[in-house]
Amino acid sequence: GQQVMQIPQYQHVQEGEDFTTYCNSSTTLSNIQWYKQRPGGHPVFLIQLVKSGEVKKQKRLTFQFGEAKKNSSLHITATQTTDVGTYFCAGPPGGNEKLTFGTGTRLTIIP
């Protein structure tokens, strides 16, 4: 079945440094979604990418969807303490009835 891997599993950065997490799927995706989960909270939808090579920005966050639609990345510029949490990518494993979530990247910020 489809597998969605994320690297790194953990990332510790100084406040103000940049952060990137990478997502790789074993199969081509019709779309990819990104979610953020704060410590003790539940996943919250951030964005969806649909087109090959698509790039979307949300303030300091930049999301990319690979040309082959099998990988994606999330880049945060100048991290802040509010960015702390676990970031998940997710994509439909064919059939579009459900999502397969990546393993997540946990971001911690050193003030």
């Binding site: 019709s30 997710a90 994509g91 579009n96 459900k98 999502l99 979530f101 990546g102």
Partner: protein, 113 residues
């Protein structure tokens, strides 16, 4: 609108006991999902439903049963709890399968002793 709600928020069971987790959504969504989250494992799909009266198995369905008798409710049952089912359980809903954003409930933290 309350969005997606889950009851209970916390529960401690002894091995062999049974329980039902309730998920309710007020967004008129067709699709509903039950996930479990364990440290370092991400979110794993247990069961899901594509509409009232339907259910389907996800990635880790063993030891769980579900029912979707009403469109707004999705129940997750554990017939005979085991320590391996200690986890945080999240319910989610969406209007259109893998193409739309999923809305998650606050989660249920279950401990099986």
């Amino acid at each position: 609108n309350a969005g997606v709600t889950q009851t209970p928020k916390f529960r401690v069971l002894k091995t062999g006991q049974s329980m039902t987790l309730l998920c309710a959504q007020d967004m008129n969504h067709e699709y509903m999902y039950w996930y479990r989250q364990d440290p370092g494992m991400g979110l794993r799909l247990i069961h899901y439903s594509v509409g009232e009266g339907t259910t389907a198995k996800g990635e880790v369905p063993d030891g769980y049963n579900v029912s979707r008798l009403k469109k707004q409710n999705f129940l997750l049952g554990l017939e005979s709890a085991a320590p391996s089912q200690t986890s945080v359980y999240f319910c989610a809903s969406t209007s259109w399968g893998g193409y739309n954003e999923q809305f998650f409930g606050p989660g249920t933290r279950l401990t099986v002793l």
